[in-house]
């Protein structure tokens, strides 16, 4: 997020970012992301309607709350309110592991709203729902920025947005080789690498 939208470049006076977190692992990653955004001096706000019972994820929630990151009690359906209040939205609703049936509500309603926002969307790992992990599809969120975790997923081929990053610099070499991942080289000690857009 900070590479795609550096603090000095933000259009709004306050460096606000809305982080929308789904009920499973993708949502938990969103919580961790929000915490680091706060440390980086952004002003994240979280919308986390369906909280995971997993104790590790509950602790992530506590860490955010104790860092004075506000949690919205509802997502405005009036899209203009979101456009006006935030510089960008982080879509941490559903990940690659999500099945079509999982968490239908409130995810479906959230995604319906997010489809219409005009501020940039950063999707974590895969653009949430509407996208089949393998095939990709239209009808869902079209993010400006995609952050593929560990390695790009099949559906990333259909990504049409501005910037594609790979993050999650922790894959041991033998795992990379075993799954023939051929990940790009990370520069120096960076934990994020921008992929060149395919011509």
């Amino acid at each position: 997020v900070s590479q795609a939208f550096p603090l000095p470049s933000l259009p709004r006076k306050q460096p606000t970012v809305l982080v929308v977190c789904g009920p499973a692992q993708n949502g938990a990653i969103g919580l961790v992301c929000a915490r680091h955004l706060r440390i980086f001096d952004y002003e994240p706000t979280i919308f986390y309607p369906k909280r995971s019972p997993d104790p590790v994820y509950r602790d992530f929630t506590t860490q955010c709350e104790k860092m004075d990151i506000p949690f919205l009690s509802y997502l405005p359906t009036e899209v203009q309110l979101i456009n006006d209040a935030y510089n960008a939205v982080v879509d941490a609703v559903l990940g690659a592991e999500a099945e079509a049936a999982e968490g239908r509500e409130p995810c479906a309603a959230i995604l319906a709203t997010l489809k219409h926002v005009r501020i940039p969307i950063v999707s974590l790992d895969v653009p949430s729902a509407g996208w089949d992990v393998e095939a990709g599809s239209s009808g869902g969120i079209s993010p400006d920025v995609l952050v593929s975790l560990s390695a790009p997923k099949q559906c990333a081929r259909r990504f049409l947005g501005r910037q594609h990053f790979v993050a999650g610099r922790f894959l041991p070499y033998d795992v990379q080789k075993k799954f023939e991942l051929n990940p790009p080289e990370y520069p120096g000690t960076e934990c994020v690498v921008a992929l060149r857009a395919p011509r």
Binding site: S2, Q3, R38, I39, Q63, K66, M67, Y173, D174, T189
Partner: protein
Amino acid sequence: QEEAQAIDQELFTDYKFSVDQLMELAGLSCATAIAKTYPPSSFTTSQPSVLVVCGPGNNGGDGLVCARHLKMFGYQPTVYYPKRPNKPLFEGLTTQCQKMDIPFLPEFPAEAAVIDELYGLVVDAIFGFSFKGAVREPFGSILSTLQRITVPVASIDIPSGWDVEQGRADGLQPDMLISLTAPKKAALRFTGRYHFLGGRFVPPALQEKFALNLPPYPATDCVLQLT
């Protein structure tokens, strides 16, 4: 020392951070500071070989995480970990290193000259800020050997063997110190070339509560060079 322990307590009890989370961020900071200061290209050994000496507690755990990230950054770390706690956290970290082909030495190099020959840098992850009292073996002999090597030593949080507040004039004098969370009192007596701050996870409210007055980290970096 008490203040550092109090901050840790609050991070775990009130903020509900897990030891794993903070140790991962701490170890990553150490590897990052090392990579910025001693890049692989600067090594005179044929490979950028680093010896990571891990003690029996959390400082050792930080060392294991650091070794793993050094491997990801292109170094060839080797670990010496003689006293391993029987806890899943440390067992997990050890396995992660082993599965990444990071060798674990069965014994500590007998002489300083051997270390100088084989490695371009030593990471001291033996004792941290909870250290009190006398240095137990095998660490006493290890530390005396480390005092005789000529390759640089990077200490995690506190140069091992130092009193956490007073330092130790006749103890290890590392080239680099990576203070975690905030510098400890002993850091005032640090005489090496490079002092970094790492462990960029202290919430602003906690920084204020303990009046840490930490200088700002650059951008999204996880380390800050103090000297």
